[in-house]
Symmetry: C2
Subunit: 431 residues, 2 copies
């Protein structure tokens, strides 16, 4: 099944597959099942690739073997691979047996790569021609098969399928039909990808360079297929989604309308982790129980110190997480950014330390209390800038996701330093 | 200046404009100025559209009139419009005077729309043909001008430039050259946009339907130009960036390496707003000063109640903000989601209330204290689910940005309800 066929097939549907997937995901489970039952096999297989994992897997699990066979006949290799990984081994065999020889080969190739590698996702709808061919040959092929989406170039191969370079579709259209492909100018600095490249790296290259499509070439020089701007955009959107969701300990692939028990269980973990950090903060306060007992104003004011540190730190943290995601932070500019963030911390520390100090003094009529809370806020805002920089950088270096655990670690640091400095200074100088 | 020219021009650069913009943004100010000075006028005008606002405006402000004139000669109308809005009126006039008649007309048209409307951003590189023309005519034009990026269809117009529909490029390539365009099948359910459409609406439609390009047609039926997947993707990435950054009170258009004073001033506002909410929480604690004085364990434990509510609430909040951004929430499913979130709140409330209650009892050997903190956590987690749902929905209905102010309002609610329920119950039953 080539993508040209898929395109024609998509055009025959009354609703776009992306829109259909969107509608399915926006429905609560019972209505979703109703809509799904009403769809044709064609519509189901078209919508499937656009669904998020949990919903997709839910629908795969409820389908019969015959339905799965019908669906996978029309699917790209990467999507069939996902179906196969979801079902039991027996069902997987039934699905594979039903595929054409070519499709089966593509699916096996796809399954030989990890889910985060390009090889898993590459498409076989490239326009490839022997470099001995002519422009007329390309034009004839276009006349018969039309043009699949995101095609801005054709690929040249030698007789043994080894990759020889790319020619822009514009050059083809502009050239005389009698000319040989080998004589046309190839695209300079043509970018190709190894199938083992991480999809996030590929997406970053596409974003920076505004590529439309690129060849995927194996280590020994064979043209395997292509990857397009559509794949890059999907990856970038998933990453942006992931960043937003994981900062709250959520997974972007989860069903919005998952059963209450399932959702509660998932979120319980995040609450539990945060509870541990909250207990740590309580433990710190507990150390100074006697001090708080003597001056209860400390209990009234202490959340302010922790909260200001948390807010300031999360600003630095967000900037660093975004800088890492957009590949904008490197060895040479990290130091500059750290100095800047510390500077911002000091300036805002002085400003808000003064404000809070004066308010505390006015509220409780205690000058020393005002000075101490001011000092604690200054300390915590500087610590927050340090923590907001170093925590995500360290997590990133450890190959941990800074967006997922960054905020928990940061809050732990700013809570502890906030309570410790405020109550510690009070113990030393106030009571 | 047509986009075909721009494409050829981009190809003549040694580095892609997007990559150049990325490198400029990743450099601290002095190195950035050095790199900028070394660029040719062509490179500068190519990179400019890809820069974030603050950096772009900084570079525009330091450029001479002659440099600006050189740069804007090669720019799309929307980019010239941005330059014109940044400089003084005199300089703007010098720039406009230097443009070709056609370019000047496009810039004026662009400036007649708001920055968030399609009219501001539309491109004039569409392939348009009289519906009386033949396929041969299209092929001749392609031969002379090549194909600009993201061209998947041609547009048909009548003699008075009124829009008559679109034909896919595939259909053109597949058709016999002698056929008339009017006889070829038009794209069914062809989607066109009014120039006053909000770009975010356009981007959502492109995302759902996987459009490559679409015609922009005025209210009285004239074809004004086109909008492409590239514009949609840029908008979607800006929106995702905006969501992440604004949840920490930051602006995605800001320079990563802005001067310390400028950054400190920007972030001060966010810290100030959060300080107000922290003082509100302190005020609530202050009401119960006498109670805390009598039982200092309350001071030790109270941050746990507030923190658990904040974390649970921010999970619901994030889900709703993302649902709104992806256009997945509507009248009919909001109620279902609210019921679900409340259910999750109750289940996790019971679980963590029990855990915290037992720990508090074990820690302080006070059974009533354990029961009271458990009750307070249950109350706060249910309140958090309500607040996490209703705050972003209300802000969205008021046309306020839920991502920007949602978390501040939420934390205020969960802090106040947390402290109020814990210390209130303690005052009633414990001391």
């Amino acid at each position: 099944m080539t993508a040209t066929d898929t395109d024609t097939f998509e055009e025959s549907l009354n609703i776009s597959p992306g829109k259909l997937a969107h509608d399915l995901e926006s429905l609560p489970p019972t209505e979703r099942a109703d809509l799904w039952r009403g769809l044709s096999a064609e519509e189901r297989s078209a919508a499937m690739p656009f669904l998020h994992d949990e919903i997709k897997e839910g629908l795969i699990e409820t389908a019969s073997v015959a339905e799965l066979q019908n669906m996978t006949e029309n699917m790209a290799a990467s999507d069939v691979a996902h179906v196969i990984e979801t079902v039991t081994e027996d069902v997987a065999q039934d699905i594979v047996d039903n595929l054409s020889d070519e499709a089966r080969e593509y699916v096996q190739e796809s399954l030989s790569f990890d889910e985060d590698q390009i090889g898993r996702w590459l498409r076989h709808d490239d326009l490839r021609f022997l470099d001995t061919g002519s422009v007329a040959k390309v034009m004839r092929r276009l006349k018969v098969r039309g043009l699949s989406k995101y095609t801005d170039k054709i690929f040249l191969v030698s007789r043994d399928a080894s990759y020889q370079g790319a020619i822009s579709l514009s050059s083809i259209l502009e050239a005389d039909e009698t000319r040989l492909l080998v004589d046309l100018p190839k695209i300079e600095n043509d970018c190709t990808f190894d199938p083992e490249t991480k999809i996030s790296e590929m997406a970053t290259e596409f974003r920076k360079n505004h590529f439309i499509s690129a060849a995927v070439v194996s280590g020994d020089g064979f043209l395997l297929g292509r990857i397009t701007a559509e794949d890059a955009v999907t990856t970038l959107q998933d990453e942006a989604d992931h960043q937003l969701m994981s900062m709250a300990g959520l997974d972007e692939e989860d069903d919005l309308f998952a059963p209450i028990g399932v959702s509660a269980k998932r979120r319980a973990l995040w609450l539990g982790i945060n509870l541990l950090t909250a207990f740590l903060a309580s433990y710190v306060i507990g150390i100074f129980e006697a001090t708080v007992q003597q001056l209860v104003a400390l209990a009234v004011l202490m959340p302010i110190v922790a909260s200001m540190g948390g807010i300031a730190g999360s600003q630095t943290l967000t900037i660093v997480i975004r800088g890492l995601a957009l590949d904008k932070l490197n060895e040479s500019n990290t130091r500059t950014l750290l100095v800047k963030e510390l500077g911002v911390g000091v300036l805002n520390g002085i400003l808000w330390a003064t404000v809070v100090g004066l308010v505390a003094y006015a509220w409780f009529g205690n000058q020393a209390l005002g000075i101490i809370i001011a000092a604690a806020i200054l300390v915590n805002l500087i610590a927050a800038a340090f923590a907001g920089m170093l925590i995500p950088l360290a997590l990133d270096r450890l190959n941990l996701d800074p967006a997922l655990s960054g905020s928990v670690v940061l809050t732990t640091v700013t809570d502890i330093i906030g309570f410790m400095s405020f109550l510690g200074l009070a113990t030393l100088f106030l009571v």
